[in-house]
């Protein structure tokens, strides 16, 4: 099977540059807005200049190799410099470089424009997910990789957007200037959407800016481009550009959801209910580090199964979930998860993997999380 694929690939390698449709697969994306297209144009200009220079140099080299191979009775010349010629090509290089620098500078100035946007979105990189906060609308959510572990482990089939799909895409309206304020919570990440030609490092303690303006509704995909730890390859970016009315609906929907979730803390919860929700939350948010069986990857990611805190110290466990652990990969989930989800996932970990039998087996209800939050205020 590999052999067949290999033959296909090799054929593709040699034919790819010939067929126009394949050209897109091996070149930079032209982008979906003016600045991206301008950067693409700049890229193609420099690319062709470099191809021509490269072809001349390599072509001349082949000529030399053929023409001046050692022959009987032909003596090599013995000149060893030619200052005029050397000066000429030095000046020639400088001229070519100036020719490249001029369009590069004008594009650079256009790309670097940090005027405020119609919509301002704070993007925060976390290990290993993105958080989007709509500054004007006070809506905030996290965007996690959707691709299943089974697909990554070659058990389930891989779909078209393998590793480029998220549970909650960033939604932006078309025909509006959208400004991104980019930062990070732990290590350095980098937010890249090739179609917008936006790549900006997300650095803890700094807020970088970038902006885009999209004309066409559509789904645009990108990835984190700065090594940010184990799951650096698994924190994609999906941006959905929609019409203005759809955008308003989206914001309203997010607000309604928030109100509903607040009500749920008042409800009386059954252990089984919490356990079921908790298992879901755990599989989505926790398995990357603590593993499905709760064994973790010590010493970096501690085990939850058999952990003293998880079995017998409810207060400390709530605190860890809410505040994170200083100097470790464990972050605060106070904003990432709802009160119900946090209570549920704690309940799940206290009941699963035999922790129930080994520890006090107490559960946590959403009200307790809400109280924790209120006491802090």
């Amino acid at each position: 099977m590999y052999l067949k694929k290999l033959i296909l690939c090799l054929t593709a390698l040699f034919l790819a540059p010939l067929s126009f449709s394949a050209w897109d697969d091996i070149n930079m994306t032209p982008g979906v807005n003016a600045i991206a297209q301008e950067i693409f144009g700049l890229h193609m200009t420099i690319f062709w200049i470099c191809v021509v220079i490269g072809a001349l140099v390599l072509g001349f080299m082949v000529f030399l190799i053929i023409k001046y191979r050692k022959k009987e009775g032909v003596e090599p010349a013995d000149f060893d410099d030619n200052p005029k010629l050397e000066l000429t090509w030095t000046i020639l290089f400088a001229v070519i470089l100036v020719g490249m620098a001029i369009p590069a500078t004008t594009t650079m100035i256009k790309a670097y424009d940090d005027e405020e946007g119609d919509i301002n979105i704070l993007i925060t990189g976390h290990q290993w997910k993105w958080q989007y906060e709509y500054m004007e609308d006070e809506v905030s959510f996290f965007s996690n990789l959707l691709t299943s572990l089974d697909a990554r482990n070659n058990i389930a089939p891989k779909t078209e957007n393998y590793l480029l799909e998220v549970d909650e895409p960033l939604v932006i309206p078309v025909n509006k200037r959208v400004r991104f304020l980019i930062t990070a919570n732990d290590v350095i990440h980098s937010w890249w959407v090739p179609d917008f030609a936006v790549k900006q490092d997300a650095i803890p303690g700094f807020i970088n800016t970038a902006w885009t303006y999209v004309d066409e509704p559509g789904v645009y995909r990108g990835q984190c481009t700065e090594l940010c730890g184990v799951y650096h390859g698994y924190m994609p970016i999906v941006v959905k550009a929609v019409s203005d009315s759809e955008y308003k609906d989206f914001i309203q929907g997010k607000r309604d959801l928030k109100a509903q979730q607040a009500l749920l803390t008042e409800k009386l919860w059954e252990t089984d209910e919490l356990f079921a929700i908790g298992e879901e939350v755990y599989l989505k948010n926790c398995v990357a580090c603590h593993q499905v069986n709760g064994a973790g990857i010590p010493p970096v990611f501690p085990a939850l199964a058999g952990s003293e805190i998880v079995m017998n110290d409810k207060g400390r466990q709530v605190e860890i979930l809410m505040e994170g652990v200083q100097g470790a990969a464990m972050q605060s989930y106070a904003e990432q998860l709802t009160e119900v989800e946090i209570a549920a996932v704690i309940t799940y970990t206290r009941k699963a993997w035999g922790n129930d039998a080994g520890g006090d087996g107490e559960i946590v209800v959403p009200k307790e999380i809400l109280d924790y939050k209120n006491n802090k205020l």
């Binding site: 390698l13 790819a16 697969d25 070149n27 994306t29 950067i39 700049l42 470099c50 220079i53 490269g54 140099v57 390599l58 080299m61 030399l64 190799i65 001046y68 191979r69 090599p76 010349a77 000149f79 060893d80 410099d81 050397e86 090509w89 030095t90 290089f93 470089l97 490249m100 590069a104 500078t105 594009t107 650079m108 100035i109 670097y112 990554r152 482990n153 070659n154 590793l163 290590v187 350095i188 090739p194 030609a197 936006v198 790549k199 490092d201 650095i203 803890p204 700094f206 970088n208 990835q223 481009t225 700065e226 090594l227 940010c228 730890g229 184990v230 390859g233 698994y234 010493p299 970096v300």
Partner: protein, 533 residues
């Protein structure tokens, strides 16, 4: 007084000591050169094995043979080993063997320091490789070890990594002091600076670069150590520190470091091309000035590695222009090599094949470097496989090919035995084809949007990654052939003459092959003749 010296003189023409102590205690530049070269060769296979693991993991989409955590350890240590354990020690080994023989000196100026600078190197890499067997695993934050991933979020073994980097730095600094002292003080009478062989020139400038930037690296890792263990906040945003500061310091070291890995290659290739063109090097003076200007420029271009950190536009433009300037001296060098071949009488023995491939493929790496210098376009190239393709083009068919070329070129001189020309050429063609199969398609996947340092990738990159992996396996296997050719030459090679190559110029070719254990005990007098090579 003179009687005492003469009395001592008689038993002074001894050869090397016997057994292991010859290598442990040696202060002989030839022995130490061999030690460096063998060390580098061994590390090439270790770092290469890690590259094979990386390419096996990336052979197809989906998790293949290692976990993402181990993959990051492979990526990190592959980079560290190839940079600090292969390319740099190989060049120092060549410097040890060649500089005294090319300038007519009996040995390096500081022989005991020389012994120390080599022997702490295996210790440093022993420490680094030992981290694989420790709790938390080996360093996993990339060879550029950006804070805070390498400080607050690093595995506990980062402290061993810092210690290893300190030792490597100390070794490089001592080696450089030795090279500079030797070149400035021990040239044969009549060899003025502008008559020195170009390899010597390239190393003189490289040594100054090393002395200038290795302490900066030491400073960076020391600040990391303080942040990790002593509560400082140099790079900790939470304590008022600055993670971007780390990148500025790192690349202020890192960019000159990149040229440290290529300048000696320029020297080597110049010698090989003139020998097999049977014609003196074209534009010797401009070659020297080009190396010097590349070295000077390397101090003012560092932030082109950081176009996406959010620099002010003035910074972006400054670093774009200064980086583009480097194309001028580099272009001069390429044109000078071509002009050396022009109207020459070319033959294509293995060293020449590798040298020509160097010029051709280094040009490709240089041109992609020029593209990367264009700051707005770099927003799209940065941290993708396009960058991986670029720096592998300058480091593998660049630096590594020059080292392989040097080994073929000087091996008969060092050992006294010729290598098998047919096998050498086979090695060349296998390497040449596979190196391009490995690194050329990386340009495509990079432009199409594949980020670097990821253990798994989206479906559209699958075809080219498979080609890259096949190329990489082939390249890896080809280097085993290199080992075979070298061993075969040493054990079964035909006797080589002193001159070895018809067109070779320079003092080392006036010696026997192999040269005596101590050479040029009386310096050759060049006042009358021409030493330039």
């Amino acid at each position: 007084m003179s009687a005492v010296i003469e009395g001592h003189h008689d038993d002074h023409h001894h050869g090397p000591a016997k057994g292991i102590t010859r290598w442990l205690y040696t202060t002989n530049h030839k022995d130490i050169g061999s030690l460096y070269l063998w060390f580098s060769f061994i590390m090439l296979f270790i770092g290469g094995a890690m590259a094979m693991v990386i390419r096996a993991e990336l052979f197809e989409p989906g998790s293949q043979i290692v976990s993402p955590e181990f993959y990051n350890q492979m990526v990190t240590n592959h980079g560290l080993i190839m940079v600090f354990g292969v390319i740099m020690p190989a060049f120092v080994g060549l410097a040890n063997w060649l500089i005294p023989m090319q300038i007519g000196a009996p040995d390096m100026a500081l022989p005991r320091l020389n012994n120390l600078s080599f022997w702490i190197l295996p210790a440093a890499f022993g420490v680094l490789l030992a981290t694989f067997f420790m709790e938390g695993g080996a360093p996993n934050f990339g060879w550029t070890f950006y804070a805070p991933l390498s400080t607050e979020y690093a595995p506990p073994t980062v402290t061993y990594f810092i210690f290893a980097v300190h030792i490597m730095g100390a070794s490089s600094i001592m080696g450089s002091i030795n090279v500079i002292t030797t070149i400035l003080n021990m040239r044969a009478p009549g060899m003025t600076l502008m008559k020195m062989p170009l390899f010597v020139w390239s190393w003189l400038i490289t040594a100054y670069l090393l002395i200038a930037v290795m302490p900066v690296l030491a400073g960076a890792v020391t600040m990391m150590l303080m942040d990790i263990h002593f509560g400082t906040s140099f790079f900790k945003a939470g304590g008022g520190g600055d993670p971007v500061l780390f990148q500025h310091i790192f690349w202020f070291f890192g960019h000159p470091e990149v040229y440290i890995m290529i300048l000696p290659a320029f020297g080597i290739v110049s010698h090989i091309i003139e020998t097999f063109s049977r014609k003196p090097i074209f534009g010797y003076d401009s070659m020297v000035y080009a190396i010097a200007s590349i070295a000077l420029l390397s101090f003012v271009v560092w932030a082109h590695h950081m176009f996406t950190v959010g620099m002010p536009i003035a910074g972006e433009l400054f670093f774009m222009y200064s980086t583009m300037l480097i194309a001028i001296p580099t272009g001069v060098k390429v044109f000078n090599w071509l002009s050396t071949m022009f109207k020459g009488s070319l033959t294509f023995e293995t060293p020449m094949l590798f040298a020509i491939a160097f010029v051709a493929l280094f040009t490709i790496g240089g041109l992609s470097g020029l593209m990367l210098a264009i700051a707005p376009a770099d927003f799209q190239y940065h941290d993708t496989y396009f960058v991986v393709a670029h720096f592998h083009y300058v480091l593998v068919p660049g630096a590594l090919f020059s080292i392989i070329a040097a080994v073929y070129y000087w091996l008969p001189k060092w050992t006294g035995y010729m290598y098998d020309e047919f096998m050498g050429k086979t090695h060349f063609w296998l390497s040449f084809v596979s190196v391009n199969l490995t690194f050329f398609p990386m340009h495509f996947v990079g432009l199409a949007g594949m980020p670097r340092r990821i253990p798994d990738y989206a479906m559209q990159f699958a075809d080219y990654n498979m080609i890259v992996s096949v190329g990489a396996f082939l390249f890896g296997l080809s280097q085993l052939l290199f080992l075979y050719v070298v061993l075969k030459a040493i054990f079964y090679g035909k006797k080589a003459t002193g001159q070895v190559w018809e067109g070779a110029q320079g003092l080392e070719w006036t010696l026997d092959s192999p040269p005596a254990y101590h050479t040029f005990e009386t310096p050759p007098n060049l006042e009358a003749g021409e030493a330039k090579g």
